[in-house]
């Protein structure tokens, strides 16, 4: 199958066939990471720009490693959103980058829709590495890859996503992806963290953790932005962790072979108790990181016509 998309802006725009192709390509790349020389020449002479308007060592490093393992030249640019007030606009920056003629531009931005703006403007392929509270497609793809790896399938599974759904791009991308792949998605979070009409996305919504994780095959805990405490979104971290932290007791409600995921970085004891996070029998958090590189390799490869 030929991959037709110019950009990866969100999971919303991907078909089931495209998701399957990406996951299968990623699985085939997994092996490269285990080699002694972790490099293939596939993207030699091609270049990838990582344009990050939000600090994210994790995602940026993952993209950088992915590019390097495919022998692409990777350039990291850290920009500041404060430059929107004075200085270069995103459009100007984009036009400058275009002049450098890269093959792929990876962008992370705090403003939802910023990658879409670039995609409309530039002939280069754009990968959305997270835009505001909108989408984080590579995270959802690596999550799906991890679920598939551990459970052998996605269809028919019950996946609970717990936490600050309102501000989470990871949640939105996973809701699209997992629903398309046939999973049953259930959400839980304080009422103030559930965005309006979210049930129209085809999910079941709860306001307590226990109801959501009953018989769950997968529990995905979202990161709490600590500064939201001051925005009256929730009263205190203390109260949040008492009711929404996954621990030894409440995890018993889920299936025996439940896997626990987290997009990282974890606030230990807030979203997940340390003993669960570190328990290799259920926590797949480190597998997620490993699969992240493979998924990003797959996208770079497919977008630059690697499978033609």
């Amino acid at each position: 199958m030929k991959f037709e998309k110019k950009d990866i802006l969100g999971i919303k725009e991907l078909t089931v066939d495209e998701i399957n192709l990406i996951l299968e390509t990623a699985e085939s790349f997994l092996e490269i990471s285990t080699r002694e020389i972790k490099k293939v020449p596939t993207m030699r002479g091609k270049s990838v720009i990582n344009l990050f308007y939000e600090a994210s060592t994790r995602t940026r490093t993952s993209f950088e490693i992915a590019g390097k393992r495919l022998s692409a030249d990777t350039i990291n640019i850290s920009a500041s959103t404060s430059s929107v007030v004075k200085g270069e606009t995103l459009i100007d920056t984009a036009r400058n980058l275009e002049a450098m003629n890269p093959d792929v531009i990876v962008i992370r931005h705090s403003a939802a829709g910023a990658p879409h703006m670039l995609a409309k403007l530039l002939r280069q392929s754009i990968i959305n590495a997270g835009d505001g509270a909108h989408e984080h497609p590579t995270q959802a793809l690596l999550d799906m890859m991890t679920i598939k790896e551990k459970k052998g399938r996605i269809a028919g599974l019950k996946v609970a996503i717990v936490g600050d759904i309102m501000h989470s791009r990871v949640a939105r991308s996973n809701i699209y992806g997992l629903s398309k792949m046939g999973a049953k998605v259930v959400l839980a979070g304080p009422a103030t963290m559930l965005p309006r009409n979210i049930e129209q996305m085809g999910v079941v919504v709860h306001t307590n953790l226990e109801d959501a994780i009953i018989d769950a095959d997968v529990v995905m805990m979202l990161r709490i932005q600590l500064e939201r405490q001051n925005q009256s979104i929730f009263p205190s971290l203390r109260e949040y962790s008492q009711h929404y932290c996954l621990n030894r007791t409440n995890i018993q409600l889920a299936k025996k072979d439940v896997i626990v995921m987290h997009p990282g970085p974890i606030n230990r004891g807030v979203e997940i108790s340390p003993d669960i996070a570190d328990d290799p029998s259920c926590s797949v958090i480190l597998d997620q990181v490993n699969n992240g590189v493979a998924v990003r390799m797959a996208l770079l490869y497919l977008l630059t016509g690697g499978n033609e």
């Binding site: 929107v84 939802a112 791009r169 309006r196």
Partner: protein, 431 residues
């Protein structure tokens, strides 16, 4: 020279007139309306009458936009009084009332006088300045209403910002009412607004954009109705965008309160669904709402709850809009599309011709106490001629406005102003 408009259908809601007749203009005033005037006038004043054949056209009292942002002084790159009034006549408007949120804000006599002076020099339409309610529209201290009135303002508003302090709003309504000045309320509870970027609902949820709940508008509409009732004064609600606001205003009117309201064409034409491309031309405040709100706005227009259609013409420069959605300025350059979009209401059976013209001319004149919006003999010769059949495509490059920010670019339209006459002079001829 006399001007004789012949062969058109003449609609004047102020006289409940809807007839096939000729209209004579003389010395800048309406001199008379009667069928077949053309047969007698030419022989009466040979060589002194310029007759214009308007068969198939509709002649109405000059349209009035009661909510325009002309941007001058201070933001001349977005619009000037000259360019804004040129856009106005091209859109069929003979008068516009301009909001005070220029820079500096029109909160004192000298700014009002500056606008009047500029208008006298450069404007193609009548320009009616609106003064600020509070100094610098900061919401804490009343401006000198009396002085502003003497300088020539026709209404008061802190548009662009709400008056959050209910006590200040109470004082504003009381003081303004005693001076016969209407107060136009930009209804938006700033805490509920919460820095939102689009309507709060399913689409804000999937787009990950902070939502503006409909209650941000409705809470303040309710408050202002209560203040107007308590103080026995009047209030005009700007840019109504939600079903709840329509309901509140309808109930207030039913109880006999002096509440009037306007909506803008984008609120009965577009919904929040169209933001899915993150196109900043769809970013406007209040935001485009849901389909239920759009339906309620049409019902409010049809049953008279909403008195006026106003553009909320908000021109912006490219740099204001060609940025990330979150950072983009709010607003639509609306003067040149308003009539075309509003004519759809007639084809959809929402309004009759006289009802639409009332909402775009007679009612704004009444709300702002302007001696306009009528074709009665002796009235100012402000006339808009509409071709109801002409097909055209919106092209922002052809806008006379400096603001090319329109979500309607490329839209197919039917009907537009083809002749705009201000004070008996043809200021726009698009035939």
């Amino acid at each position: 020279m006399k001007l004789l408009l012949t062969g058109a259908r003449v609609i004047d809601p102020s006289q409940k007139m809807d007839v096939a007749a000729d209209v004579l203009l003389e010395n800048g005033k309406i001199a008379g309306i009667a069928p077949e005037l053309v047969k007698t006038i030419n022989s009466k004043y040979p060589g002194k009458v310029k007759a214009i054949d308007l068969s198939g056209m509709i002649v109405v009292p000059g349209l009035i936009d009661m909510h325009t942002h002309l941007r001058e002084p201070g933001f001349e790159y977005k619009e000037t009084i000259a360019s804004g009034s040129a856009a106005a006549v091209a859109g069929g408007f003979t008068s516009v009332a301009c909001m005070p949120n220029s820079s500096p804000i029109n909160d004192n006599r000298s700014i009002t006088e500056f606008i009047k002076r500029k208008a006298a020099q450069a404007a193609l339409t009548n320009i009616y300045p609106i003064g600020a309610i509070s100094k610098d529209s900061a919401g804490s201290q009343l401006t000198e209403f009396w002085d502003l009135k003497e300088a020539g303002i026709v209404a008061l508003s802190d548009d662009g910002k709400p008056v959050m302090d209910a006590a200040l709003m109470r004082r504003a309504l009381e003081y303004a009412f005693s001076l016969g000045l209407p107060v136009i309320s930009h209804c938006e509870d700033i805490n509920l607004f919460g820095g939102g970027l689009m309507n709060e609902g399913y689409y804000s949820t999937i787009l990950g954009l902070r939502g503006v709940p409909s209650i941000a508008e409705e809470a303040m509409v309710a408050r202002d109705i209560l203040i107007a009732e308590f103080t026995k004064t009047s209030v005009h609600v700007a840019h109504v965008s939600t079903a709840g606001s329509v309901r509140l205003i309808r109930e207030a009117k039913k109880r006999g309160l002096q509440v009037t309201a306007e909506t803008a064409p984008h609120y009965f034409t577009l919904t929040d669904e169209s933001l899915q491309s993150y196109d900043t031309n769809f970013k406007v405040n209040p935001p485009l709402r849901g389909i239920d709100d759009l339906t309620a706005i049409k019902e409010g227009l049809a049953d008279g709850t909403l008195d006026a259609i106003a553009c909320d013409h908000a021109p912006h420069g490219r740099t204001d809009k060609e940025v990330e959605f979150e950072y983009a300025a709010c607003g639509i350059s609306g003067l040149e599309t308003s009539l075309g979009l509003s004519l759809q209401l007639i084809r959809d059976g929402v309004l009759s011709w006289p009802e639409l013209i009332a909402k775009m001319s007679t009612n704004p004149a009444r709300i702002l106490n302007l001696p306009k919006g009528t074709l009665k003999a002796g009235a100012d010769g402000d006339i808009t001629v509409i071709d109801p059949q002409i097909q055209w495509t919106v092209d922002v490059k052809a806008f006379r406005s400096r603001g090319k920010n329109s979500p309607f670019h490329g839209r197919e339209m039917q009907g537009r102003a083809v002749l705009t006459i201000v004070g008996g002079e043809i200021k726009y001829d698009g035939r």
